[in-house]
Amino acid sequence: MNIDRLIKKAEELAGRYGVTYYEVRVVKISVAHLEMQNSHLEEISSNMEIGIGVRAFQGAWGFSSANDIGRAEKAIETAMKIAKLMKGSSKVYLNDPIKDRAEIKAKKPFINVDLDEKLELVKTVDKFLEDNDIVNRKVSYGDGLKWQFYFNSLGSEIETIIPRIRLSFSATAKKGNEMQSYWKIFGGTGGWEIVEDVDLEYWTAFVKEKSKSLLNAQLPPSGEFDVIMDPELAGVFIHEALGHASEGDAIKNGESILEGKLGEKIAVEELTVVDDPTLEGKFGSYIYDDEGVKARRVEIIKDGVLNEYLLDRETAAYFDMEPNGHGRAQSYNYQPLVRMSNTYIEPRDWSFEEMLSEVKRGLYLIGDKGGEVDIANGTFMFGAKEGYLIENGEIKAHIRDVALSGKILDVLKNIRAIGKDLKVEFPGYCGKGQWVPVDDGGPHVLTRALVGGLL
């Protein structure tokens, strides 16, 4: 495909349809995926795909996409026709043109690693997971190299290359009618070195041990409790409890409970929450967002005060602010939405032991099982993979997985201690009608929440 020709064609069509702003993303993505269950290889695939996504703006957005590159010009024209038809009155932030070529470098590009070697990795993990008490072993490997050429009517031309890799595995243990599983996910932006650096022997043994020990774990209690969250759980907690409600589109549409609260103290003074797409090697990292805006670190809450929303071009214009590089699309065939990247709680000075001694009767909860938020009601929930009872500052019985729930505006003020041991290494995907890769984390955090246990 000839990019220069597309750029010219877009300009010509914009003139014809009287479109004030447009942007085009041409994407080429190479993806490998392998999946194995109980030594049974279920998928090994390696594919390449090219597509185009076009947005045109004339007071409202028109969007079109195609994966048949013969339809590229048609997609441009369709998006512009739609924008013109819509006769909207919204605004969009326009900046100076950027010409750049940016790449997240891999030490050892996975594109140069044979499928055989990737299969070998999957088999090794499967083998390590073998155990008499483990009835199911599941291993999944995926990598994707995304080349994107972005251009817009302002004259921006940005070429980016982002490699992303992920390895996950789980073990399921069974005793009588009881079944429990545990899993671990590794990943980031970079190359094969990310999976090479994983101590597979250690982590497979860890996952096996956890799934087996959960068979003997107690049922979690229910009710309001003091809860210490480990860094992984603190990550999903802040993603659900604050991240989504601070997304500019939710605020603009009058859906978020944080509307009109910028500059207000909404949390304890010790709390600072950051969303940073520029962190090196993290799963949610990128250099430019899908609107050609440079990615930037955002302090959503600074010292307890709601400091900044996550913004794209449209929400920035609405609030008369500058976008901060959080317009992300799942792929070329989706319109960018305001999204998180790597979200975390800044560390403070509590040690885990000090935190523990604060708790008379509570729970130490560990690991991320996902979560969900109702931003309009300001209620969120999130799941922990396992936990322990705490009695008089001491860790007691092991408990099974459980979900917690809280009100955004209460729970951020209920945080009593923030640890010093920051970890942001919990890759995952965040869904909002589209899936994008994200990471999150934090240090250990002590707060109070409603625990949905069975006892």
Binding site: F63, N67, L85, V135, N253, M381, L450, G452
Partner: protein
């Protein structure tokens, strides 16, 4: 071009299967009573599986306008993958039976112009604006409509050749009320055939408004243990936790609680059916991703485990027959999945009650543990009925174990409601609210 591809494949000494799609989808989105974005997207592509010496290889290409050379390259690449693949090959479908599920396609949707669709979206925008003017600044309205069509085809070296054209359309409405407190209400409905929009928007707005008022005045209640009525939306969330236990691949790989057909696993008042043959329903299709005809599969009948869902591979592995539950698109290999899920059982009147605890919506079911069955979900909205008076509640949790819960079903209501591809009545259970 498909014929060209088949010709190339027939000249090779392999077993093959192609799955292709051509489609388009359009949508309009309303935010704060303004029509702010619209899209029209096109997609097409072909997925090819090649069976060679007991192994299978897969790859896909996007687009359906390729010359002979690139088709040759595509075929050779997939054969090469099959040669190095270690994925066992269990054969492609041989079931030539043609089933035609009715009312999955409406020419009116396929031929609807973008301008006509725009007028329909404007109609919803105007209705929302009228309501906003009447109700005041405390309310924020959003929503949208979406519609699309797709042609899916399958062919394989066993002589299977099937093709189906389907359409779909959906309406969604979301209302937020914010003053000293907050509340929200929503409505979603999908269709295969063009609905009467005027009527649909009125019903949707009325239902979402009812919900927003309930939600606005809802408060957390004290814990409760006893009889609870689950509305269809909440039933769908809970049954979704159970479903993966009924997929053949999970049973085979021991990631399911269930193993033996005939076991008593639930209350006698509970029946669960997967049915892809229902006329005009969202989860219906004439053939699945491997070309097997769709069917109705009873999974649980009066509490007894009756069947599992299968694709071709796991049916062969477990000495069973495919139930036509291979779900896929051209980019993916087939995986077992459900179609329409019908919840049924011993029917009683669960409407018009004087006294009840009702859970309308829950969220967070993806955090539940489908293996142990444990779940703790947040109650988005529920209400108590006392002496015929409705008192809403929210922010409590609904916790339990799905394998126990299906044993605690007392009876189910008489009228079913569609929630996506779930068809469920109200269900009366014994449960716990925290």
């Amino acid at each position: 071009m498909i014929d060209e591809l088949i010709k190339i494949l027939n000249h090779k000494d392999i077993e093959w299967e192609i799955y292709w799609e051509i489609g388009r989808g359009s949508s309009f989105k309303i935010e704060r009573c303004e029509l702010v974005r619209a899209q029209r997207k096109y997609h097409s592509g072909i997925g090819l599986r090649v069976g060679y010496k007991g192994k299978v290889g897969f790859s896909y290409i996007t687009g359906i306008n390729h010359d002979k050379t690139s088709l040759e390259r595509f075929v050779n690449r997939t054969i090469k993958l099959a040669k190095v693949s270690e994925v066992p090959f269990y054969g492609f479908s041989t079931n030539n039976k043609n089933r035609k599920v009715k009312s999955l396609y409406d020419r009116k949707i396929e031929e609807m112009s973008f301008d006509d669709a725009y007028s329909i979206a404007l109609l919803l925008t105007e209705k929302e604006r009228e309501l906003k003017e009447r109700l005041g600044v405390e309310y924020a309205f959003s929503g949208g409509i979406a519609f699309g069509m797709s042609t899916d085809g399958i062919a394989n070296s066993n002589g299977i050749e099937k093709i189906e054209k389907t359409t779909g359309m959906s309406v969604n409405i979301h209302i937020v009320k914010r003053a000293e407190k907050s509340g929200s209400g929503s409505y979603y409905r999908g269709f295969r055939l063009m609905p009467d929009f005027g009527k649909e928007f009125s019903v949707g707005l009325e239902r979402a408004l009812e919900e927003v008022e309930l939600s606005y005045s809802a408060k957390k209640i004290n814990g409760y243990h006893g009889e609870i009525i689950l509305e269809p939306h909440a039933v769908a969330s809970l049954v979704s936790i159970l479903m993966s236990n009924l997929y053949g691949d999970n049973v085979y790989h021991k990631r399911s609680r269930f193993s033996k057909i005939g076991d008593s696993i639930a209350s006698e008042s509970f029946t669960l059916i997967d049915d892809a043959t229902l006329e005009g329903k969202l989860g219906s299709y004439s053939f699945d991703g491997e070309g097997n005809p769709s069917q109705r599969t009873v999974l649980i009948e009066d509490g007894i485990l009756k069947g599992f869902l299968f694709d071709e591979a796991y049916a062969k592995l477990m000495n069973a027959k495919s139930t036509g539950n291979a779900v896929r698109d051209f980019r993916t290999v087939p995986h077992i999945g459900n179609s329409n899920v019908i919840i049924d059982g011993k029917r009683e009147n669960l409407e018009d009650l004087e006294k009840a605890v009702v859970v309308k919506r829950v969220f967070g079911e993806h955090t539940a543990n489908p293996l142990s069955g444990d779940f703790s979900l947040t109650i988005e909205l529920g209400y108590l009925i006392e002496n015929g008076e409705v008192k809403p509640f929210k922010d409590n949790m609904f916790a339990g174990n799905i394998f126990e819960l299906i044993n605690l079903i007392i009876n189910v209501g008489k009228e079913k409601e569609e929630v996506g591809s779930f068809l469920s009545p109200r269900v009366l259970i014994l449960g716990k609210i925290i």
